[in-house]
Amino acid sequence: MSFWAPLALAGTTAALAALPVVPALYELRKRNDAAPLPTSRHDGKVTNFADALRAKLEPLRPKLEQCRRNCEVSRVGLEAMNVLLVGCEGFDFDPSQMQGIAAVMCCQDVTVPAGKVLEADFCVDATLELGEGTVIRSALAAGNITLGKRSAVTRWLHSNGTVYLREWSSVYGRLSAAESIYLEPGCSFERVHAPVILTSTGAGPVSGGSVSALSPETTAEVNAPSGKDQMLYSHPRIRVEGNFSLPASEIVNANVVATGEARFARGSCFFGNVKSYRDTIVEEDARVHGSIVCGGAVHLGRGCFVAGPLMVEGDVVMDPGSSVGAPHALTTLSSQKMKIAAGCRLHGTVWPRANGIVES
């Protein structure tokens, strides 16, 4: 046997053994991916996209003012995107003028004619109205926003006033308003936030009018406990192996964990937080002054009230007249899918992880 044979074997074996370590040593030396992992900077502010658009377009405000004085429409460039400045009323968003436009900035009331499909972000200083069947990318308005029937917003929508979604319209992404949001039957949504969110029948006076005038039927939250009582720690914790049921018209102060279903019968009143491993049913006119955590689905019956938050791993169905949260204690309702009947009232954040729809 040659003298070199064992050396060659040893060398080859060492080289093969070292092979997987070569990329490691390279990375160790070069440090291409040695920064700390980025942690979440999400601050939970629903208006982040709207604020970012406003800040981005702010340098164009003097030019927009100039357009308003001259009552003209102007096309300008900003950070490699084309922005249309609309300084006059009655602009019809002609396709030839909208070619290549990424954002539209308007200083007066805007109405987008029916049937238009515009891949642009809107920043409007007054009110914005989308005609029937219109599609836009996103919009921010200082005034109210109205989406016509079967219209859609593909990214986000924010109003400093009120948002009205007419029948069968859709907002994919964030939908928020500083005051209130009205959703008509057939509307679909993903993440909604407003101090007041109402689902209406579509027959009532949608444009204008006050919140209370539109929702006289839901007053359950009036007697909701004040904020500091929401988590109700002082109540005893009860663990129920199996189903938990609160009989009709009973009043109970407790925190309950049920390994089966939880059911609050008609007219019952529950002060505390409840968790059910399976479904939770809140029957007609029952009231839950606390949170609901549910491993299954939740059904909120007609006229019932839940203070929230509701953290539901399954789906949620809300019957007419049911309400969640209160104007002085905004809350969160999150679930997989959500089906809300007309005549419901919610306060705070509504977040179906898959999709939400107003029953038609």
Binding site: P23, A24, A34, H193, M231, N255, S291
Partner: protein, 426 residues
């Protein structure tokens, strides 16, 4: 006899191998549970944040700055730095902050039993909120972290909550890079998989929260526990309270940069964990109010630091059996041995690789072969810790001693921003 021991060892190793794969596959392909993450708007409860600080002059300013910037109603957030008998400038730095920000309520502890659990126990006497969050002084919370950690407490079954720890000083040394990978595996895969499958996520003692009424119910902090976090997890579990893991509640920490510091740290964890195992293994296995999955996971979690010496023992036995010419025999043993050789050796590394992929980082996966080195150091350290504990129990020594992990940071990294200036810590 030796053969039976070998078979038992092999079985244990196979069980832990299967556990690694189960967790990893769940994270890659299973249904993910984040039941509390969507709570954005709520009537938030009052919260006390306790910052455990013992000689933390290099780091305490960072966490105080970060906590002053968090997105949580200021009137509902009490910030309490727990200065535990510090002999450096910690007290001075805290007092400077208190002067500028009177909402910080310091607790300067000048005597009493040493150790974090004892300091927290004393601090709890001043707490009058139901939710208490605990941070070590070298952590840097992000703006939304407090809300992320508080939201699980709307669930009446939750007694404690644990966030995710992310190393800040990753790029410093080989050790920090390996610990970065190890932390990814531990949190991104292990903890979240347990959360997904309704098992036993572990309360980790920092970037964590506890419900005061639950803590009172189980008798408060156990100041004799070397790993007060593991101890608390099991006492809560046995009392019917659950621990929630919030993978999105991320917080930067400083990991050890020197091997001796790392060895001391892991030995302390191992001893504390083994101490908890002795106290709670039988109780967990027999606890009728727990599901079968919780019982199995709880028992396996308690035994995790014992697997180091078991593995060494298995290797030794294999060598002895080989040279004594004992027939291993039995199809099942051979199959188990084969499966373990083919797959089991890689289970922990597969877990880390999956975690790195889930984290979305691309290049650091190349360091995976080097984790074998970190694994070997840990194996020897935890075995040494177990041996020392065995000696102590046999020859009656020694009260358990708590070693504080040495900090490498020499100055604050936060400027005006609430988040770290990352370039400076690379």
């Amino acid at each position: 006899m030796l053969l039976d021991l070998f078979r038992a060892t092999l079985l244990l190793i196979c069980i832990y191998t299967a556990r690694h794969y189960w967790f990893t596959l769940n994270r890659l392909f299973g249904q993910q549970r984040h039941p509390y993450v969507d709570v954005e708007t709520a009537d938030w409860p009052a919260v006390t944040v306790l910052i455990a600080a013992h000689n933390e002059e290099a780091v305490v300013a960072d966490i105080l700055k970060a906590l002053l910037e968090v997105d949580y109603p200021a009137e509902k957030l009490a910030i309490v730095p727990v200065n535990d008998r510090s002999t450096d400038r910690t007290r001075e730095i805290i007092d400077e902050f208190v002067e500028r920000y009177p909402r910080i309520e310091p607790f300067h502890r000048v005597g009493g039993k040493p150790g974090k659990a004892a300091a927290l126990k004393d601090a709890m006497e001043r707490v009058n909120t139901e939710v208490v969050l605990i941070f070590d002084a070298d952590y840097i919370p992000g703006r939304a972290l407090i809300r992320n950690l508080v939201s699980p407490f709307f669930d009446p079954e939750i007694g404690a909550v644990m966030g995710r720890v992310v190393p800040l000083n990753v790029g410093k040394k080989l050790l920090t890079r390996l610990l970065d990978l190890e932390r990814s595996g531990g949190y991104q895969v292990d903890q979240q998989a347990r959360m997904n499958m309704h098992m036993v996520p572990q309360y980790g003692g920092t970037v964590a929260g506890v419900r005061k009424s639950a803590l009172d119910e189980i008798g408060g902090w156990n100041e004799n526990a070397l790993a007060e976090d593991t101890d608390l997890t099991y006492r809560l579990l046995l009392a019917g309270w659950k621990t929630a893991y919030e993978n999105r509640a991320e917080c930067y920490e400083e990991v050890p940069e020197r091997w001796p510091v790392r060895v001391r740290q892991i030995m302390r964890w191992a001893k504390g964990h083994n101490q908890a195992m002795i106290s709670y293994l039988i109780k967990t296995a027999r606890c009728g109010s727990l599901s079968w999955l919780e019982r199995i996971d709880g028992v396996l979690l308690l035994g995790v630091y014992l697997m180091g010496p078991v593995l060494l023992w298995g290797w030794l036995l294999a060598v002895v059996l080989f040279y004594t010419g004992v027939e291993i025999g039995g199809g099942l043993t051979v199959l188990a041995l084969g499966v373990f050789t083919a797959l089991g050796n890689f289970a922990a590394f597969f877990e880390i690789a999956a975690a790195v992929r889930l984290d979305g980082s691309r290049q650091r996966i190349r360091l995976l072969p080097l984790t074998l080195f970190g694994f070997t150091v840990s194996l020897i350290s935890v075995s040494r810790a177990a041996w020392q504990q065995l000696q102590d129990s046999l020859f009656g020594s020694a009260e358990l001693v708590w070693h504080k992990t040495e900090r490498s940071r020499t100055a604050p990294v936060l400027k005006d921003s609430p988040l770290p200036v990352l370039e400076e810590v690379r």
